[in-house]
């Protein structure tokens, strides 16, 4: 219509951009339609559950001294289950409440959807799972365990493709950039990652590129001391990109295996801070065109739907290669991870289930799904 507007934004003629014409609402619907598929996996899933399942945690106990969990072996799964137990017990007792000896009708499905929404799964995902449960079972009596199995299988189906263990590559130094919003747990995650690398016998350097927050450098220095890694730092307020550049240079000179770069927390809607992140990557590439070899987005499990925007913008600016989800030891369920995986398919490398060095655990889609479903 208005020539002014065309000029203003440089629109191409409408024919060239059919994408524009798709109304938002229709798109959303389409997503849902695609998502609803028949459920061949239930049987398999149920079987798998039978085989692998550790014994169920006592759900009613709010602060369990988990005598049931053999500490050494079930290590992190136990911990995850312990962490998720409260939330999943809410979820599963809710499910049991809805479905015990009841017919599957519209009202019950609505209640199920609500339970899923409470787990931060988001509207689309909750809708999809609800539909999957309803598929072919409408008006039939349904067993609560079956609902859990369907729920777990649906979640696992989405999460399975993104279950990618983190591996340090062969590049020397292998440069890992850690990004995320403020308070997500970047520095702690770096400490834990560094500890893992050290255990594998690799030499590690930490670059304290969070030159903004007070004592961020000291925090990383403490971690460096704990795990036996060199820490590159500059006084607070220094240029973080310059520091990253020098750290890479030094890591090359000293033939260090792994360079972990900590960055300042930034909200993804702050254009200038995101530009700073872009600059860090640019200067790294001046020395090594393939750096950073991994860009890890640290996500707080308590985050709600905003995590989707975080993943989107950080990916766009920093080329995120994988996600680490922290703070899964609370009541937060990390259900947003399910929506994230469906939407972006970014690899999920690890989850943080506690504060100590060993609490960074590889991400296991099945265990995660079962823990959410309360199986």
């Amino acid at each position: 219509m208005s020539g002014f507007f065309k000029k203003l934004f440089g629109f191409k003629p409408a024919e060239e951009q059919p994408a524009i014409e798709v109304p938002v609402a229709v798109e959303a619907e389409a997503e849902i339609v695609v998502a609803v598929e028949p459920e061949p996996e239930i049987a398999i899933m149920a079987k798998a559950a039978e085989v692998i399942l550790p014994e169920p945690e006592p759900e009613s106990d709010p602060d369990p001294a988990p005598a049931a969990a053999p500490q050494a072996k079930t290590g992190w799964i136990g911990r995850l289950r312990q962490g998720l137990s409260k939330s999943s017990s809410v979820l599963s007792s809710g499910i049991t409440g809805i479905f015990s000896k009841r017919k599957l009708d519209k009202a019950t499905l609505e209640e199920l959807e609500e339970l899923l929404l409470k787990a931060d799964l988001g509207l689309d995902m909750a809708d999809r799972i609800t539909k999957a449960v309803g598929q072919g079972r409408y008006d039939r009596e349904i067993d609560p365990e079956e609902v859990k199995a369907i729920l777990a299988s649906e979640i696992a189906k989405v999460l399975k493709p993104v279950e990618v263990p983190f591996a340090f590559g062969g590049q020397k130094p292998f440069v890992v950039l850690v990004v995320g919003v403020n308070g997500a747990g970047k520095t702690t995650t770096i400490g834990k990652l560094g500890a893992i690398a050290r255990r594998e016998g690799l030499s590690v350097m930490l670059a304290a590129c969070d030159t903004f927050r007070a004592a961020a450098i000291e925090q990383l220095t403490v971690w460096g001391g704990r795990i036996g890694a060199e820490v590159m730092s500059r006084p607070q307020g220094a240029d973080s990109a310059g520091l990253a550049f020098d750290a890479l240079k030094q890591a090359k000179e000293t033939a260090t295996d792994i360079l972990l770069i900590d960055t300042a927390g930034r909200l993804q809607n702050k254009a200038d801070l995101m530009a700073e992140l872009d600059k860090i990557i640019r200067v790294l590439r001046k020395q090594d065109a393939t750096a950073p070899h991994a860009v890890l987005l640290v996500l707080d499990a308590t985050t709600g739907q905003n995590a989707i925007l975080q993943a989107e913008v950080f990916s766009k600016v920093a080329g995120v290669t994988g996600i680490i989800m922290t703070k899964l030891d609370g009541t937060a369920r990390g259900g947003i991870l399910v929506s994230l995986s469906e939407r972006f398919g970014l690899p999920v490398h690890a989850i943080g289930v506690g504060e100590s060095v060993d609490d960074l655990q590889p991400f296991d889609a099945d265990a995660f799904a079962r823990a959410i479903a309360g199986l």
């Binding site: 208005s2 203003l8 524009i20 609402a25």
Partner: protein, 523 residues
Amino acid sequence: MFETLSDRLSGILDKLTGRGSLSEADVDAALREVRRALIEADAALDVVKSFTDKVRARAVGAEVIRSVTPGQMVVKIVHDALVETLGADEGGLDLRAAAPVPILMVGLQGSGKTTTTAKIAKRLKEREKKRILMASLDVRRPAAQEQLAILGTQIGVDTLEIIAGQNPVTITQRAMDQARRGGYDVVMLDTAGRLHIDAELMAENAAVRDACRPHETLLVADALTGQDAVNLAKSFNEQIGITGIVLTRIDGDGRGGAALSMRAVTGKPIKLMGTGEKLDGLEDFHPGRIASRILGMGDVVSLVEKAAETIDHDKARKIAARMKKGTFDLEDMAEQLQQVVKMGGLGGIMGMMPGVAKMKKQISEANLDNKIVARQIAIISSMTKFEKANPKVMNASRKKRVAAGSGTKVEEINKLLKMHLQMADMMKKLGRNPGLMGKMFGGGGGPSAAEMERMQAELASMDPSKLPPEMRAMMEQSGGKAAALPDLSKLSQGLPGLGASRGLPGLGGNIFKGFPGLPGKKK
């Protein structure tokens, strides 16, 4: 990704125009969308339910004001109910107790407790002239105590000396002792971040509470929190007993439904909001703003604030003075362009405008490129001083030289000159029109908080009949086509809340109207 509630509701309820009052069916249809909007905004489900019940009771049978569609009416009712639920501006901390007044800060890890502690201390020191002692009880996170000490130095507030190996209760007692002896007015105690299901740490917090008997116990919570907000607010309130909530990261682009959840579940007021990493980023709580945001109605207030924040007032005043005289040269225009860049580019500005959210996608698909602005700045920078002051002298050979110097083409320079002419024209008119803009430039400060609230309220009760036809067309055609994009110059004039300024306040000109010649990205 978010559609605004008003857009959605107008789609559903537009057919119903002309009826006298809202029927139950109308309301039910609308409330389904309200529920969706609230859940997308991370408001907790139980809270959403009781909230929609409240709205239903109020909306059924409500008279639809003439010239307002039922959809708009519902939005208004929802908005008002939200503001009510979120609580009035209770703002501010209660310090009416015998000095030293202890303030205990609690919350999850990474919610921003330490930064918020320093922000509150700075505010109390500067606004209320209090003497404050800060103490960090976080003996777990490496360098947490140092962090508070560093912040204390930055804001000129004393912190308790760090003694390694002490437990939080001992530190608390020491802090209270020192405050009593040192004659401090306020003691701020920053606790270690903890999970609300961690019984051991919660017990530690309770012990600290008993040791200092805080007058205020503030729960610091992240505005980006999801459904878990309810659990954490409830546990902290039940186990420690909070007196208020501080919402952090409100400067993010989260919708802030957590605010509603926490307020509803604890009944405790949201006292303050943290905005940004800088230590003066602390504001009183504005329920109206958060309500609009939760409903996805755009955040004009933020836009105005951002403008006020980023615009260099000295420069702005100079430009304003020149505008009054009717002179607006290329140098001034370069300033304006730089302001746009500072505010996050055209996309950033437009994203905050209500009703424009839907077009955001189209804008990004339209190859809107901030490089255009950068290139225009480059063109101006390549001119001589004389040329900048007298754009009329630009002849063919000068243009060629500037094009070569800025790496552009002569056509682009022509476009820029044309755009400048139009802007200068508008500036002349504007210079004679004192309004919000005049206040902005003249006074050097932004519109007052009250004015902003009013604007926001006006926006909420937006009268569609006053909207320009372009905007209505946009609302009707969900998605729309590129060709149907409204003329934004009219749109911004038509926004009721901005009526007085005829444009985006603080931008030194109606940017949309002001960039008529802005060339598109090269294909």
